[in-house]
């Protein structure tokens, strides 16, 4: 047997995660905070207009006890809505890709839901469901599910003909074809949808709280702003940012655990 050394490609060395990948973004955020701090002090901007980041971060900790129930309410609603949206979005995409008629019937309205700004629906949802956690979770689902659905559907539908032909040639069952070919092929798109829906989930929840809720961080931001307590308001904004980042990181971590191949 002829050895095949000549055509052998140099192996691609796995990228090592260097320290700079952690340090560089930290330096960026530190620089932004320092410039912010400097500008506020240098231009004598009053604290009721813009607080120093130092004061805002301090407020995050000193007011934690007071803010805790609001943080918990917002975080839990975002998380619940996000999980429902992701599961529902992926399962529905899976069904649509398998049953053509379902896709024809539903896709225009899912697109419509995706392009309609949620803020216009919030007053209606409140009218029907009141001001509690239910309306927030529903708002998160309505905003976050179409994007994960559309991305997953793109993944399920865009399978190279030849990849399917292999399954056909082996007479794989529908379930086998889905498991070994269609699903793994779709995973990168599914994760893109998940990341985006995490961002939208956070926006949807806080928007709902701001436009008439009676609990959560969005509600608190409005309250603190009205009373000119800007450091507390910014502390709340930071807490919103934290859940946004956590959701995004969760999706990214899951993605790196599941998708081990290079795309």
């Amino acid at each position: 047997m002829t050895a095949a050394v000549t055509s052998q490609k140099q192996e691609i060395a796995p990228k090592k995660k260097s320290h700079s990948s952690v340090i560089a973004p930290l330096v960026t955020i530190l620089a932004i905070l320092l410039i912010w701090q400097f500008l506020v002090i240098a231009f004598h901007i009053p604290a009721w207009k813009i607080p120093t980041p130092g004061a805002a971060i301090q407020a995050m900790f000193t007011n934690f006890g007071e803010l805790a129930p609001y943080i918990l309410s917002t975080y839990l609603d975002i998380l619940a809505g996000f999980l429902i949206a992701v599961v529902f979005g992926i399962v529905l995409a899976c069904l649509i890709s398998n049953f053509n008629l379902l896709g024809i019937a539903l896709t225009p309205y899912i697109n419509l839901l995706c392009t309609t700004p949620l803020i216009t629906l919030v007053p209606l949802l409140m009218l029907w469901l009141g001001f509690g956690n239910g309306v927030k979770i529903l708002a998160v689902v309505v905003q976050a599910f179409p994007i994960v659905n559309m991305n997953s559907l793109t993944g399920f539908n865009n399978v190279e003909m030849m990849k399917l032909e292999l399954m056909q040639s082996l007479r794989a069952s529908r379930i086998q074809t889905f498991r070994y070919c269609v699903l793994p092929n779709a995973l990168p798109s599914v994760f893109t949808g998940m990341k985006l829906s995490g961002i939208l989930a956070t926006i949807a929840c806080v928007t709902t709280e701001m436009s008439g809720g009676n609990n959560g961080l969005g509600y608190e931001i409005v309250q603190f702003t009205q009373y000119m307590k800007m450091d507390e308001a910014f502390a709340c904004i930071f807490y919103v940012a934290v859940i946004g980042i956590l959701l995004y990181s969760f999706s990214s971590l899951l993605e790196s655990r599941v998708i081990k191949w290079k795309i």
Binding site: A4, S7, E165, R171, K260
Partner: protein, 278 residues
């Protein structure tokens, strides 16, 4: 692994393994009917290496897809190992297990390692056990891929990938290998290497091979017999028996007899094309 070595004398029987009689395939579009292949008659013996050459679009790929059962013929009859298939009958799982299929591109799944890709048909067919796992390892060793077994397809070269594609089609021990221009996308040197490796595999296993290519030299180097096709509609216009001795070597490609075969076939393909232009 001695068990995979088949007695070459079994070839002496030369029973027809695959027979195509009067096979046509028409594709219906909204405006027109396109005849991809028309009245194709072929016979391939057990253990024989047969190539089909012809210009692009002559229906070569359609023919082996019909033999594999991915496409059903519009009319005519295909007999595989005594089992008849026509436009109505569905290919049985038993026949599926007898046929291996390799694609123009390696067509490996990027989400599986090389080993997982090669072993995929076993999962589909529900063939489990250490014997099968050992056979996967044996095949990987045969084509010098064992050290890349746990790599993903993006991490190795095109030649390596195509080797994996070929052994994937053999992993469930089929009797027939259908190859759709498997080395067409490779550079000349890698292609030659793989041609020789394929001949070794063929000699070891006693497979019946139908090989599609538009490279005349490759067809002459590999085959016992070559069918030449014309295009539009795809028809078999000639059949050439290659009388070169086995073992085939690359040195043979410089010999007069080899060059004569290539010329004959090229002229047959060329004549058809000129006729079409007129």
């Amino acid at each position: 692994m001695a068990e995979v070595k088949m007695d070459r004398s079994a070839k002496a029987g030369r029973l027809p393994k695959i027979i195509l009689s009067g096979i046509s395939k028409r594709f219906q579009s909204r405006r027109q009917t396109i005849t991809a292949v028309e009245d194709v008659n072929m016979s391939v013996n057990t253990g024989e290496f047969v190539s089909i050459v012809g210009p692009s679009g002559c229906g070569k790929s359609t023919i082996i897809r019909m033999i594999d059962g991915i496409i059903r013929p519009s009319s005519g009859k295909i007999t595989i190992g005594g089992n008849e298939i026509d436009s109505q009958t569905k290919i049985t799982q038993e026949i599926v297990g007898k046929i291996g299929f390799t694609f123009q591109l390696p067509n490996l799944y990027p989400w599986m390692t090389i080993r997982e890709n090669v072993a995929l048909p076993l999962k589909i067919f529900g063939l489990r056990g250490s014997d099968w796992e050992d056979y996967v390892t044996y095949l990987l060793q045969t084509v010098k891929l064992e050290q890349y077994a746990d790599k993903y397809p993006t991490e190795i070269s095109g030649g390596m990938l195509q080797r994996a594609g070929v052994i994937r089609a053999m992993v469930y021990r089929p009797e027939i290998l259908l190859m759709d221009e498997p080395f067409g996308a490779l550079d000349e040197m890698t292609r030659e290497e793989l041609n020789l490796e394929l001949l070794d595999i063929w000699a070891d296993t006693g497979l019946t091979i139908i090989f599609i290519t538009h490279n005349v030299q490759e067809a002459v180097l590999l085959s016992d017999r070559i069918y030449v096709m014309s295009t539009n509609p795809g028809k078999i216009i000639s059949e050439v028996q290659i009388g070169l001795p086995r073992e085939r070597t690359l040195e043979m490609t410089n010999e007069d007899q080899f060059i004569a075969y290539c010329d004959t076939i090229t002229r047959k393909i060329g004549t058809v094309n000129l006729d079409k232009i007129k």
